[in-house]
């Protein structure tokens, strides 16, 4: 595989009865960004942990920067940077001390570690907070510091596991900016995310993962065209009318409609002619005398990709509502740790 910095072949990993990875194939080419897109529990973190040598695979093969994750784990670690799903910064150290420590652990000389730490802090807008303990940092600042820690070693390959999950929209935009700049320097990046939009903005190629397997792979445009461009979403006021409404709009778009009987939601891929189909849908529903609670055109999300690819919905969390999700994330991690025992 010419010019590939990450090569994964038929990787499997089982936890008890759960196949976290069930034969995963993946490739990241030098200097590119691959987005590993999937819902909670799809196997994203497991993949990253195996590639970062935190976890041994059950079977299959994986190399990073040419090093085998099992046989050459030690050498591999000097070639990678990892920012895990939860910011792993030392709250009792200052921003500068955090990064300096990581630099020293990459075995950089003291002065060099300090210089790079300062560079990174500068670049991530943390220079003025560099002397404060990380305990005083906001969630967004911690994430940036954590990301910074994964960069002081100037890694050839970078792994970011859900870098913006739990951030408020503004911090998310800031982080996207940083990540985009970063990959302009030629760092190869494997990024996991639950958001199609995030993968769309940052990744050259996207691998959609479900049940520990890649179920689709391509550029964002390729994936979106498989979904059929934009999505028309409507909700009937009276749930009893869902079937009638669906009957009226089905066949309007290039793909089939998805009907959620419980909520009264109907989702319909509309290709490139969103406004035309929206207008036609409204006319038809009006003719049927179906009363709508809501109707909108929107860009496709992971949910839509999933519906199209698998026929089942995800449990992906909505993109807004930051603080609340941050705590639920922590809770679910605790749950996982408990299961670990």
């Amino acid at each position: 595989m010419e010019g590939s910095v990450v090569v994964v072949e038929q990787l499997t990993k089982r936890f008890g009865h759960v196949w976290a990875l069930a034969g995963l194939d993946l490739e990241v080419r030098q200097g590119t960004v691959v987005g590993l897109l999937g819902p909670n529990g799809a196997g994203k973190t497991t993949t990253v942990r195996i590639l970062a040598t935190l976890l041994a695979p059950d079977s299959g093969r994986a190399t990073v920067a040419g090093f085998d994750v099992v046989r050459d784990a030690e050498a591999l670690r000097s070639a990678i940077g990892l920012a895990g799903q939860f910011a792993a910064v030392d709250e009792n150290l200052t921003g500068l001390e955090n990064l300096e420590m990581v630099g020293r652990l990459y075995h950089l000389p003291k002065a060099e570690a300090r210089r790079r730490a300062r560079d990174v802090l500068e670049r991530f807008g943390l220079a003025s907070a560099s002397g404060r303990t990380a305990r005083t940092y906001s969630g967004g600042m911690r994430r940036r510091l954590d990301l910074g820690a994964s960069l002081v070693g100037r890694p050839q390959v970078l792994f970011l596991d859900e870098p913006t999950t739990g951030l408020d929209p503004r911090s998310r935009l800031g982080l996207w900016e940083i990540i985009r700049e970063l990959v302009q320097d030629g760092t190869s990046l494997l990024l996991t995310t639950q958001y199609l939009e995030e993968a769309d903005r940052l990744a050259d190629r996207i691998a959609v993962i479900d049940g520990g397997k890649v179920i689709a792979e391509g550029t964002a445009d390729e994936l979106k065209s498989r979904v059929g461009g934009e999505v028309l979403e409507l909700r009937v006021a009276d749930r009893a009318e869902v079937a009638r409404a669906a009957g009226a709009v089905i066949g309007l778009g290039p793909g089939g409609a998805q009907v959620d009987n419980a909520s009264g939601d109907i989702t319909l891929p509309v290709g490139s002619d969103g406004p035309g189909i929206l207008a036609e849908a409204v006319r038809r529903l009006d003719a049927e005398a179906v009363i709508l609670a809501d109707i909108q055109l929107r860009r496709p999300t992971l949910d839509d990709v999933f519906l199209t690819l698998t026929g089942h919905a995800t449990e992906a969390e909505p993109m807004d509502g930051d603080a609340e999700r941050a705590t639920s994330g922590r809770r679910s991690r605790r749950r996982r740790r408990e299961r670990d025992r």
Partner: protein
Amino acid sequence: MSAKLAERTAARPGVIRRIRLAIADGLILTRRNLLHYVRVPTLLVFSTVQPVMFVLLFRFVFGGSIGRALPPGLNYVSYLMPGIFVQTSIFGATATGVGLAEDLGKGIIDRFRSLPMARSAVLAGRTTADLFRNLVVVLLMTSVGYLVGFRFQAGILFAVLAVLLAIGVGWTFSWISATIGLLLKDVESVQAASFVWIFPLTFASSVFVPVDTMPGWLQVWAKADPVSVWANTLRSFTLPGDPQTLNLGSSRLALALQSGLWVAAILAVFVPLAIRAYRRTG
């Protein structure tokens, strides 16, 4: 490129360099752990308040009546303080497991494990930092002891040996605590679990009271308890003259040997266990 990449294998550094790097990494993490006490001084304050309370409680509240059970010529504070050194060191060692569980929970251990640092550094750094912290606490306890009438009466050499034994015991228990911390992985559980084994070990021993005042069945336990051995050894290092006459059971040398054997035995079991538990945290 790919052909070259695919064939890349690790150029392992030489043994000497690996050892040097391992020591350097261990020291970096020792410094990191010690910085916590600088940043959150209350941590250190709390780890000394409790032992000070124990000293005051036993010296002034229980001391009067316990003192009567002691052999003539031995005052209670001279009996108590060596015991307190051991007890404080063992209680303090719970911080090792709590600290590791905390780092695990925050994902910091994951970060360390993804770095090209020595695998030994996390445990080495943690136990070494706790060794230094315990040294500070023991020296502080010595000062408190001097305020309430305790004196090193066997000379400076034995005074130094006494302090070394106390922190050595603390370090030994750090490895037990590390094993528990890495297995339970959760701060509160580690704290709760620690006291389950620490209480019988320290209180049913010669730390606070002479063993021969206990019922027969308990004496069996208390005499076999290594905590009693260490406390008695420390007494033999701080009291003047021949400890045999002070009813400590054996001579200084015999006690010191027993103490050393216990330390070695516990380390031989728990250092490998802790390392194994660390390897399995992935």
